[in-house]
Amino acid sequence: MATIIIALGSGLIFSLGLVISGMTNPNKVIGFLDVFGKWDYSLAFVMAGAILVTAIFFKLSLKSKPFCADKHSLPEKVEIDKRLLLGSALFGLGWGWTGFCPGPALLNLSTNNSSVFLFVVSMLVGIIIFQKLEKNINSKDLK
């Protein structure tokens, strides 16, 4: 139960942060990515602010265990591989093309706009396609 409340609370705080930061406005995001054009640098401070807070609390938390779990769930992979590079490139292209990344897209569902629905449904389809392929691919091949 505590686990669910913590996760719910985290999602709520996250949503507030995303809206206030401007990340939910796809035009602002595109302005930030318009590095070769009219660059709006202000969203750089979103990541700066987030990392500042997160780095401190993560370091603190890693000294012991989480409040309501036995251990931290950290990613196993450490090395950079082709999947990481290709996946990030594809994600970046989709992000720059629409101004949406997963969190902001979900939040924008509250606008009841068909473009958002199209994006979110397509995003879910993209996720499912990958997860189905992942089952069939021998992970050793695509390192």
């Binding site: 990481l84 992000w95 897209a105």
Partner: protein, 136 residues
Amino acid sequence: MENILYPLGGGMLIGLGSSVLFMGIGKIAGISGILGLTLKKPVLESLWRYAFVIGLIGGGLIIKLLNPELFEYEFKFNALDYIIGGLLVGFGTRLGSGCTSGHGVCGISRMAKRSITATITFMFFGAIAVAIRGAL
């Protein structure tokens, strides 16, 4: 100066949200992964994921009810753009094991070289996509 206050403050809240999840239950607030795994893992294992997504979407609904002016921007592109964009983001984030929250915030905060590399890569290709659109 004012133009960076909301991004900075919002970013710090994002950091707080990520910290609550990590300090509380030891999980990384990577939205693409959380969303993806709700579709993959058994329901009982994913209860916290559902709760997080409900908090995220529900929070948005509440904020929009209280402050609708925060959502007054246009979605300028056409249906095909959103379909292709969505497919790229969905597939790409899962292939690359993360997005702006997972890699950009949590990963970089841990000084993980995978995340630093991923973030540089998706930022670069994001800029490329914007540039391509500008050239068309």
